[in-house]
Symmetry: C2
Subunit: 229 residues, 2 copies
Amino acid sequence: MPRCYILRVNQAADTREVIAAAALEFIDEHGVNALTLRALGRATGLHHTAMYRHFKDRNDVLTAVNAIVVKEGLSRAGELPKEPRERLLALARGLRSAMRDHPAVTLSHLLPIESLANSEPVATMQSGILASLTELGLAGSDLLVHHRLLESYVLGASVFDFGGAPAHLETRRQRLRHVTDPAFEAATRDEASIDELNEVAFDRGLVLILDECARVGALARVDRSARPG
Amino acid sequence: MPRCYILRVNQAADTREVIAAAALEFIDEHGVNALTLRALGRATGLHHTAMYRHFKDRNDVLTAVNAIVVKEGLSRAGELPKEPRERLLALARGLRSAMRDHPAVTLSHLLPIESLANSEPVATMQSGILASLTELGLAGSDLLVHHRLLESYVLGASVFDFGGAPAHLETRRQRLRHVTDPAFEAATRDEASIDELNEVAFDRGLVLILDECARVGALARVDRSARPG
DNA sequence: ACCTGAACACCGTTCAAGT
DNA sequence: ACCTGAACACCGTTCAAGT
């Protein structure tokens, strides 16, 4: 009984990736909590226990889904600029943009902290960021601290901003209900206004942090050329 | 059959709060995923279905646990300074400190985005932050953006920093394994070094953001006094 | 008002069996 | 090598029944 209508027509593609793509689509539509292995089985036309042939466990499926999102973030960043500060800006905005496209996935973005380290898109993103920070002049503990700051900010703020989706609007209304400023009224009027506010705030913080990275990097570079060796 | 050894000796206290405190203790020890209602029943000496007399559902339990952590954050902040920038610093560091004390709870801190809005400690924290930002001179959309930035940074970065705990050390080693800088070697040597790096990076970003809030607030204040009305 | 016990519909995971 | 089907130990939640 050929129930595998998706897999049958994608024999060329790697089964693992086909399943992961189906999982991403399912999460986008129904949320991450609704993604049970049985539901994923229905979506792919496979028996739910067949997943264990391609994934270690359910977390492994989510890890693969996250890798797709990071990969989309890289392609969103486009051709990477030569200038390191511009490159960091492009990478961060690209990743943010991919996460915004898949808000329901974001909740499981805390998972990759544990398990995504070995995926290829994450390694690419990681080394791109480290190389850019180094080019800015950062080294040693300065490099460590600012790398950590940038990572925590970009991923942390995005997880926070999108993790509660799609309950955003009502939540924000609740949290700001004691404020009487008319600007608050306007910003909490609809989803679009809140989303725009989020993006403006995120970009403000991102520029702030990258400016600091460039400033400290430039200082360190001057310091090194003053007393070489 | 008196199985309720905890509740029996705390008849004065509110049952809901006693259960929430037991849940916090359990999560600290066994992680948030291990907190099933049946396990919580065992910990409190109650039948697991009795929880529904005090909580709407399992998420409601986690919401109550989060409220305790935020409350601890407020008390960690201590006597609040008069100066608004110092007050924001104290509030943010206090909350961060409470979250660091309960890293396993942090994973569920994305939940409060949806549901914690109505708890009393969160409301207190919220209004304290808004009042401080206003005192700094921020108003209108400036106030909105910087409030959002501060909130996303403090909560987001902390969720990200602690969410993967206690798998921190191995994760960081994995993620930075391509770096050869000796400073990285030192920083990933043990848990304490990584924790220290996290705290240094967090505080750096916090000061950066608060300086920006003060700067923009001061500008806006000058602007308002230049053309009053 | 608060707690118990049985029950329901689910879940992730394992494993022997098929091709 | 890949997939199925039955089975296991669990889970959150509901509800009638007890005091």
